[in-house]
């Protein structure tokens, strides 16, 4: 049985990676991808994470990857949402 991460935990990883910025830049996305792999062994390509600001989209991608379902599309998160 797969242990799915909570949105709160994913949110904490995003906030840690974003380091106070509004959205994830390349370094932040790399760090988040590294931490997602480290914690869950789930591979979310950093290029899908660049620009992400919404926890639920990242969480959905992580869960989808964990369930080996393709994460649909880029994590295109509008700024300000």
């Amino acid at each position: 049985m797969i242990a799915l991460p909570s949105q709160e935990f994913v949110r904490s990883l995003i906030l840690e990676a974003a380091d106070g910025e509004h959205a994830l830049d390349e370094i932040s996305a790399l760090e988040l991808a590294a931490n997602l792999w480290h914690h869950f062994r789930v591979e979310v390509p950093p290029e899908m994470l660049v620009g992400a600001v919404r926890t639920d989209r990242v969480h959905a991608a992580v869960v989808a990857q964990l369930l080996t379902i393709d994460a649909a599309g880029p994590l295109d998160c509008d700024s300000g949402t």
């Binding site: 370094i27 996305a29 790399l30 590294a34 792999w37 950093p46 290029e47």
Partner: protein, 202 residues
């Protein structure tokens, strides 16, 4: 003898022959003759025409070929392992090994720009540099119009500004500073090294 046995035993886990660093999805390989056309195309592409070396000019083929290795300590293509696609070029240049520094640069294909892929490749190059030579720090020579790309790295303490030539370049109708950023060995160990260690874990 015991030590040798121990070393031989340890070799099952860690090869004794050093290899170029890689992550699960990216590797580095030296550019070959067959890559030159692609590299020229990258260097003068619209995304890189001003940001990289040539500042809007298109050097002759011979000039490009010759300058590609001018002052280079080591340079590698960033390769995606699953399809061998070339994503960029990362370079160590103008090294002074007796003083323990070198400069580093990165060039992306248009497709890889802004994706973090070439940044991951650059981190691999920096690991290679710090592990291969007794370097104290690595410099990044950044025109002011490229400085946005380093804001996050500066805020995180991965690099620090060590010099600035005021109004050094005139381009597109205005003057720009040339900024020298430095990444010391401990900055690399505490930041980029930690990230790529996690990206390569099995």
């Amino acid at each position: 003898m015991d030590d040798q046995t121990t070393e031989a035993g340890a070799s099952h886990k860690q090869p004794l022959i050093p290899r170029l660093p890689e992550t699960r999805r990216l590797a580095l390989r030296p550019p070959l003759q067959r890559d030159l056309e692609r590299l020229y195309s990258m260097a003068v592409s619209s995304d890189n025409a001003y940001r990289w070396r040539y500042r809007g000019t298109t050097p002759s083929w011979d000039t490009f070929h010759r300058q590609l290795w001018d002052g280079v300590l080591a340079q590698y293509l960033v390769i995606r392992k699953n399809d061998s696609a070339v994503l960029g070029l990362v370079t160590l240049y103008n090294a002074n090994l007796s003083s323990g520094y070198t400069y580093a640069s990165a060039l992306s294909t248009p497709e890889a720009t802004g994706t973090g892929l070439v940044l991951e490749g650059l981190f691999l190059l920096l690991e290679h540099a710090f592990k291969t030579w007794n370097l104290r720090k690595i410099y990044f020579e950044v025109p002011e119009f490229n400085l946005d790309q380093f804001v996050s790295a500066t805020r995180r303490g991965y690099v620090v500004e060590e010099g600035r030539l005021r109004d050094h370049e005139t381009l597109l109708g205005r003057s720009w500073d040339l900024v020298f950023l430095a990444m010391y060995r401990d900055m690399f160990d505490n930041g980029p090294q930690r990230i790529i260690d996690r990206l390569r874990m099995e």
